[in-house]
Symmetry: C2
Subunit: 340 residues, 2 copies
DNA sequence: TTGTACGCGTTATCAA
DNA sequence: TTGATAACGCGTACAA
């Protein structure tokens, strides 16, 4: 069970009775090559439990085989999901991930990130909100020949590949169902507009109302900032209205939890007295009573795709800038119901 | 502004008119060395903006200046805090961090982690619960000459440095205050024992009861597994007892949130009808109503210290195994009060 | 106090 | 379709 001596490409080559170059070929799926040769090598690799040394691959290949994930003040669960997805792609593509937390409000943020990327010799970086919307950042990075891929940027750049989620469509459907369930006064709590998704979600709301032939009542739309506190404050505003809404859509789950709190305080029961829907499928949505109905982006998959886009770009394939789009999933739980 | 050709140690050596070995010496702070020589080299390094290639350092040297953080199925916020702390130490000590999520239940977990560490040429790894309690893992790692530091291990090994938190003491104080506030029937929800902290917290509970001259009523102690669902189930059990507790301590916040749900379902008001206290200061503790009183470990600081312990060990200093201990902080919020 | 030559484990070049 | 050998950028003996 103990692997004492290090097994290198040479070990494999000897065992398979071929040259190291041949082993390298099967590793990198180079063609053409005789099937029997490839099988011999594969067999040796398996028996030896051989894994290429990333450092050697990087050194010889003139790449660092490292990509960076840059993030700032944003929810832990979101970053973890992103990270998990990126890591999955990395391990499959033979890459290492370097994490770089930072403060998006810092004056020197652009220089910091550029330096980080240069100093670590990164092959590229992945940007997530709100950083991917930072004016000048992407330009500075590309100017220094650092590849970039954005996740959920507010606007899609021509030069930078990105992956995003069709938030608008998902919200539109969800609000549509609320309307069908008899709700006509539906409150909406907006998120911080440094996240592109905020506008998307708002548009989904408005679009659903319009499609149903309903008026858009601006007094039912409140500005939050994605925190529990802001959600609670907006909830209080909404629920203290003379003609209070029978349903509230919050642009994320933290704010929806805030609405729960505001309802709880004045004795309103969810979902009987008030329907609430959130967005994100954050942990809290499964840790409150009643369980929060929400919308879930396939964040891990999105992040994984973003990483693959970046790695492909590094490898020279897929030089074209691509934009991938995923659709969100509606999670029907316990916090909303028919209105009579 | 654009740096076109790559600058290597040779570039620096040429510019400073010394040999590469000399540059290498100043990079690694080797002595003795003439001050004027060092200055020349430093000057060249700065002017060229030279940064050593991590891949080359790892491949050629004994040290890679990379450490690993290995974690498995555990809460996002916990991992993020750990990560932030480790990263802080790393950036200050000139280290890189490689993240490695894995499945602690996997059959091949030990081999996987050893391979990961060898393969990435890591100088050492940081283990967190429940992985740091995995039988045989630490042994396998040290056998392969990979330094290890544990965070909150169930038992402190002689050979492996660790940092931990005095959970027992904190819980003891908190339960003591509940008792002073008039609670005599206090429920306790245990956590999963693959986390060393579970036992610590239970001991704190029992110790507080004993100190106050109270009996330990085993029927008031329920086994949870750190999830919301288990907390809710245990809460239901506890609250349906003939002589139900007036206060419940849950070994983490997710389970405390579960208790909130169980109370909510049967119309019990927190904190008026029931006091609830959790542990961890997880995001959910600030996203429910009323705000959850809880106990907070200085996770970031602990992680930072763990990383420094590891890096020191790598550098040869501090070869002795050390065990650092931190104390937890009691957060008094809204979910507990006097009992009459 | 400083320099030379070789090795680390891969990929790339050019033959065979 | 395969193989010998030179890079890749740095650390480490061993010399000077």
């Amino acid at each position: 069970m103990t692997v004492l001596k290090k097994v290198t490409i040479t070990t494999v080559a000897n065992k398979a009775e071929v040259s190291v170059k041949t082993v390298s070929r099967v590793l990198n799926r180079e063609t053409p090559m005789r099937d029997s040769t490839r099988d011999k090598v594969l067999k040796a690799i398996n028996e030896l439990g051989y894994k290429p040394s990333l450092a050697a691959v990087a050194l010889a290949g003139r790449q660092s085989k490292m990509i960076g994930l840059v993030y700032s003040n944003i929810s832990a669960s979101y970053v973890m999901s992103i990270q998990t997805g990126v890591l999955k792609a990395c391990s499959e593509e033979g890459c290492n991930l370097i994490i770089h937390p930072c403060d998006s409000e810092s004056k020197s943020i652009i220089t910091d990130i550029v330096n980080f990327a240069k100093n670590s010799h990164l092959d590229g970086v992945i940007l997530i909100p709100p950083l991917c919307n930072k004016k000048g950042l992407v330009e500075a990075l590309t100017e220094h020949e650092i590849n970039v891929v954005n996740i959920s940027p507010a606007i899609k750049s021509e030069k930078v590949p990105s992956v995003c989620c069709e938030d608008k469509a998902a919200v539109e459907v969800m609000i549509g169902e609320l309307i069908e369930a008899g709700h006509s006064e539906i409150g909406f709590i907006k998120g911080d507009f440094s996240h592109g998704a905020s506008l998307e979600r708002l548009m989904g709301y408005k679009s659903a109302l319009l499609k149903a032939g309903l008026q858009i009542n601006e007094s039912l739309i409140k500005q939050g900032n994605f925190t529990f506190e802001s959600g609670k404050a907006c909830g209080q505003d909404l629920l203290s209205m003379a003609n209070r809404p029978t349903a509230i859509f919050a642009s994320n789950d933290y704010m929806a939890a805030g609405v729960f709190a505001s309802a709880y305080d004045i004795g309103l029961k969810i979902p009987n007295d008030l329907s609430v829907v959130g967005f994100d499928d954050a942990p809290v949505s499964r840790q409150i009573c009643p369980l929060l109905s929400t919308i879930k982006q396939p964040i891990e998959k999105m992040a994984e795709s973003a990483a693959r886009l970046l790695i492909a770009k590094n490898k020279g394939r897929g030089n074209v800038s691509r934009h991938l789009s995923f659709s969100a999933e509606l999670l029907y739980r316990e916090s909303h119901k028919q209105h009579h």
